[in-house]
């Protein structure tokens, strides 16, 4: 069972039109840069993308939007790019906004083999429309379904040839959950090491969840809001 691929282009070989793809990351932090670039080069069409955000105009998922590759976006916070806004308002892009915690938990449910979860987020708001509500111990909860994604594209800090992953700082975010949830999970890592090089105690995502792994190249790791403080 060979999991190691040479690069993103080879790892995404079977991603085709109409696929449902999860992409890790929070803002621009921890996004699968190499896979996004490879998808853009491949010009796959009609994608449904599940990701917390939609990147900025010229980076992240924004690159896919520029090429009009995305038919539907499922996210919790969007609109940091003008092309996204234009496509959404014109109706070219279908956008489903869901609470961030619900997004995370629907990924988790898929990865944990649970068909659905109950969450209080959104009770009494417009996102409760059409959803089953149930009361537990005096509090209302909405029934939310586990996601069903063909591919999960995740970014990790280190990984080994068996697909074990370690994440760094806040670049972790949705990546471990999406890694568990994808029917096919493709992981790009900054440093790929042989099995045995990583301490089993340190592993965040066990390799059973990862089908393909490659060492990424040329990470830009763009900072969205560089914020610094003056020395005392």
């Amino acid at each position: 069972m060979k999991k190691v691929f040479n690069n993103a282009e080879e790892a995404i070989f079977d991603i085709s039109d109409d696929a449902v793809i999860m992409l890790g990351g929070f803002g621009l932090c921890g996004i699968p840069e190499n896979c996004i670039n490879a998808l853009v080069k491949k010009e796959v069409q009609n994608l449904t993308c599940i990701s917390n955000n939609a990147g900025v105009d010229d980076f992240g998922i924004g690159l896919m939007l520029q090429k009009k590759m995305v038919k539907k976006m499922v996210a919790s916070y969007v609109g940091e790019n003008a092309e996204f806004e234009r496509q959404m308002l014109s109706g070219e892009l279908d956008v489903e906004l869901i609470p961030q915690g619900t997004l995370a938990t629907r990924c988790m449910a898929a990865g944990y083999g649970m068909p659905a979860v109950f969450t209080p987020a959104g009770v009494g708001t417009e996102i409760a429309a059409g959803k089953e509500i149930r009361n537990f111990n005096g509090k209302d909860y909405l029934l939310e379904m586990a996601f069903d994604a063909d591919f999960a594209l995740v970014k990790a800090w280190k990984g080994d040839s068996m697909g074990n992953l370690i994440f760094k700082d806040t670049a972790r975010n949705f990546n471990p959950l999406m890694a568990m949830a994808g029917k096919i999970t493709i992981a790009e890592v900054e440093e790929l090491v042989p099995a045995g090089a990583l301490d089993p105690n340190q592993i965040h995502t066990p390799g059973i969840y990862v089908h393909r792994i490659f060492e990424g190249k040329n990470y830009e790791k763009r900072i969205e809001q560089l914020t610094e403080r003056e020395p005392a």
Binding site: C29, S76, G79, P99, G101, R172
Partner: protein
Amino acid sequence: MALDKYQIAQRIAKELKNGYYVNLGIGIPTLVANYIPEGMEVVLQSENGLLGMGPFPFKGEADADLINAGKQTITTLPGSSFFDSAMSFGMIRSGKVDLTVLGAMEVSENGDIANWKIPGKMVKGMGGAMDLVASAKNIIVAMMHTNPKGESKLLPKCSLPLTGINCVKKVVTDLAVLEITPNGFKLLERAPGVSVEEIISKTAGKLIIETDIPEMF
């Protein structure tokens, strides 16, 4: 005189207790971090996966992998920990976060809050707000008392799409501190130099005034 945003943050910081885990929303709420009392231990939770959020980094020390929920570069503190987004909202939903401070466009007299969507204008999404208001033990709203058109933001019922219902406990504005009670907004304090009459005139929701209202500072 009406408070500025720093003073609103300063007043909210008086609600902090030692040992509290706190989530601060984008905007005025983030400023509360600057007014944590000396010697008080407060752990800031950043919903993108960090407990123990520290100050902004010094020039040249920013790390692209270390940001807060507002996408700003930050640092960690002794005792910080990282975790994934499901655990992050898990600790919020299970009531481990003691206090949430967030902004709002409207708050109703029974504690509904609207802070994510203005129909007809660009809708950016609710982010973590719906989870936070549905789960937190203690929710304080930091906002201006009126909107740029001079209309009250404290209403009998919210007109904008809701973020959550029956959830806000306290509101701190540039004019007043108010508590949400079963009978409406109860006025607790007024900004220094601001009259009760002015607060009444700018509060559209039901306002309860039981006593002499002291100044905040």
